[in-house]
Subunit: 429 residues, 2 copies
């Protein structure tokens, strides 16, 4: 459908339905614009809880929400499952695997991918957590190492199987390390009574001098101490040089024998950013104007992890709250412009940040205040449930959390490998 | 560990943790025997609800139960995730991918696999439902055809995408066809408003003159009528000759253009049966003595779909109730023998059978009585919840069913493909 054949209603195309794209779409719902959402997946993924899928705490379905369920109630929203292959900014067209799409306004919200900083060994051997399939793969790997370890006679191999290396002391690394340590301590201890707790190790490596660098000193200390109490070996000032099958090599030359390496030490803009002409900022992010539009193309907006937005002189962190605010901002800007009003520049409102460490334990900052422990954990719980989309998802997630809280039990510890052959043995019926 | 090194306690090895193996294990829990469970998966799968996973009604995790959660409370049960590669019946050893295991008693409960009757075209192009991954794959395929169809300009290709062929009018075929028809009618109609309901077809093919051949005439007629009311094209006396990409060829030479072929027209004993010496019965099933032991090896039992057990002159159907009864029976036989008592021959108690057709609609027979409609549906619901293992699973399944019942909504309509590349476009963050 060409733009000329359409009605006078302006068409907004949103590429990527993460937090940025999703919040832009919600803001534009019911507006005078015709909105087309494009994503390669048919769901919105609640990435902050991926680590709980990876540690057998939640079923993957409970943190994803079908986009068609979202758009159903809005006559002006449309969704198409497509892969973007190019941008024709002068022709105002998005090129996709299923043909070109014309737009009047374009919102690019492709998010980010894991940054292995060009380290091929790490990229090949490490797990990361950006997509739903990543979380299932990591959960399968963790459970499989324990099933192998319990049958392993060789002490050295067993130790290698039961050593988990987590790289990156940001919120994702801290949350994953804590959840994994608790999985081992509370659940696996009962599942594998023949393995001693001391045989397994969770090692958290951070290149900087402290964990959670963006947090106040007191919370950083608290997080480090809590993790250590839970049995996590926290090693700051430690760089990873390389990884191979069964080995993680540190910058110092030290080798940690481990089969499972989890990498959360960096993100960079999604490959969609490469399709945008012009030089990129740090992390491959697209530099934007103060109103989040692309220089020279004020009908094209870039939001979320992909956008390099300066705040107090530094690029905004690649976090969900920034993406949500930006998504809403550009949607409102488009509505303003269509009314003939002038759009405001984007102003980031820092709501603070948080990380959960374990059961009843988290750190959080907000409005200059900071808290830790049970209260922070309750705040974390409430906010994550609030931002999770779909009432049914909230119920399932809450049910799982309550289960874990009271029974110390995580029931999604299934190895759902895809490579199950049709070989003999095992139950087929 | 060799048998001689062990204590005087006898070791029972159970291969396969489907319904037969699971019920044998539960019966042996707390007994004087040491019981080792082997399975290639780390969970018990509730196969009767696989079709609901495939039609976006349930998350896959809710119908699987971790075996280690099951054995945890019983000191005499052990589990090892292993693949059986051979049987040394004279040496009383099971050979596995991780070494040999000795036994005093062996229970073979490998279940069944889909029988394509040697038709290579069908085997390559058809979906089946035996394992958890099958259900996820089929759900992804169904959802993907709709996402493609909504963007397809060519009417012929669109029709091909929206045509679903179900082969086999037994309970699985009937349940799947009904659930798919309802998914399209209640959920996809709202998700894809631009597609007309009449454009999609669900065709149910059965080689015999009626559906549900094992059921009384009245129920067969009811099931056929209900399915047709729901928009399913029911064609009996119809054989499938072959299948290729986008085509299903019938015995009559007629070709149905369809991208999705679901095969539930036959099962056969799992490949584990091939490892048992001796000639096999129909469907590759292992002929057994009246006490379910292997002729010449009274310490080896075969139960469930793998066993060819005669009842009123015909082999028992390959169904969960038979497997459960047999599993419990052999477990009790072993306990009897260890007490020096004589084990009874197995007697099958026919509890009847049932199939759900859609919301508020099912057929059931029990104790010579038969019922259909809402009452049968309630019975079906209750029994499936009862036999589903794990309280949390029951809550999640009941929640999903209530959701669907009241809101006509199935929320697990996610395309969780594994082959998501790292290409540009789509939301990565």
């Amino acid at each position: 459908m060409s733009a000329s054949q359409r009605t006078a209603r302006k068409r907004v195309v949103i590429v990527g339905m993460g937090f940025g794209g999703m919040h832009a779409a919600r803001e534009l719902a019911g507006s005078q614009c015709e909105v087309l959402l494009l994503d390669r997946n048919n769901y919105h993924l609640f990435q902050p809880l991926l680590y709980q899928v990876a540690t057998a705490g939640l079923e993957q379905e409970s943190i994803a929400y079908p986009l068609r369920a979202l758009i159903r109630n809005w006559y002006n929203l449309q969704f198409q499952m497509r892969e973007v292959t190019g941008l024709d900014l002068d022709g105002k067209r998005v090129l996709t695997d299923k043909g070109a799409v014309e737009y009047d306004y374009l919102i690019l919200a492709g998010g980010s991918v894991t940054n292995f900083f060009g380290n091929a060994g790490v990229a090949r051997h490490a797990f990361d957590l950006k997509r739903l399939a990543d979380a299932e793969r990591l959960r399968n790997a963790i459970l499989t190492t324990f099933e192998l370890a319990v049958q392993e006679a060789d002490a050295q191999k067993k130790r290698e199987l039961l050593t988990f290396v987590v790289v990156g002391g940001g919120p994702t690394g801290v949350e994953f390390a804590g959840a994994l340590a608790e999985l081992i301590r509370y659940v696996f201890r009962k599942d594998y009574p023949s393995l001693r707790l001391a045989e397994s190790r969770v090692v958290l490596l951070e290149a900087a001098p402290t964990l959670l660098g963006a947090m106040p000193e007191r919370l950083r200390r608290y997080a480090g101490q809590r993790l250590q109490q839970m049995g996590v070996e926290v090693r700051c000032n430690t760089l990873v040089a390389d990884a191979s099958e069964g080995e993680v090599r540190l910058g110092s030359g030290e080798i940690i024998a481990s089969r499972t390496l989890f990498w959360s030490a960096g993100v960079k803009a999604a490959p969609l950013a490469d399709l945008v002409p012009g030089t990129k900022g740090p992390g491959g992010r697209v530099p934007v104007q103060p109103d989040l539009s692309l220089p020279g193309h004020d009908e094209v907006y870039v939001v979320g992890d992909m956008a390099c937005v300066l705040h107090n002189g530094a690029p905004l962190p690649m976090m969900a709250p920034a993406a949500m605010q930006q998504g809403r901002h550009v949607a409102r800007s488009i509505i303003c412009r269509e009314r003939g009003e002038t759009a405001e520049p984007f102003r980031y409102f820092d709501k603070g940040s948080m990380a959960t460490i374990g059961r009843s334990s988290a750190v959080a900052t907000a409005f200059g205040l900071s808290c830790s422990g049970f209260v922070a954990w309750l705040v974390w719980l409430f906010l994550h449930l609030y931002y999770l989309i779909g009432f049914r998802n909230r119920v399932v997630v809450l049910l799982n959390w309550a289960w874990y809280y009271w029974f110390h039990e995580r029931q999604v510890r299934l190895i759902t490998a895809d490579d199950k052959g049709n070989a003999s043995g095992g139950a087929d019926g």
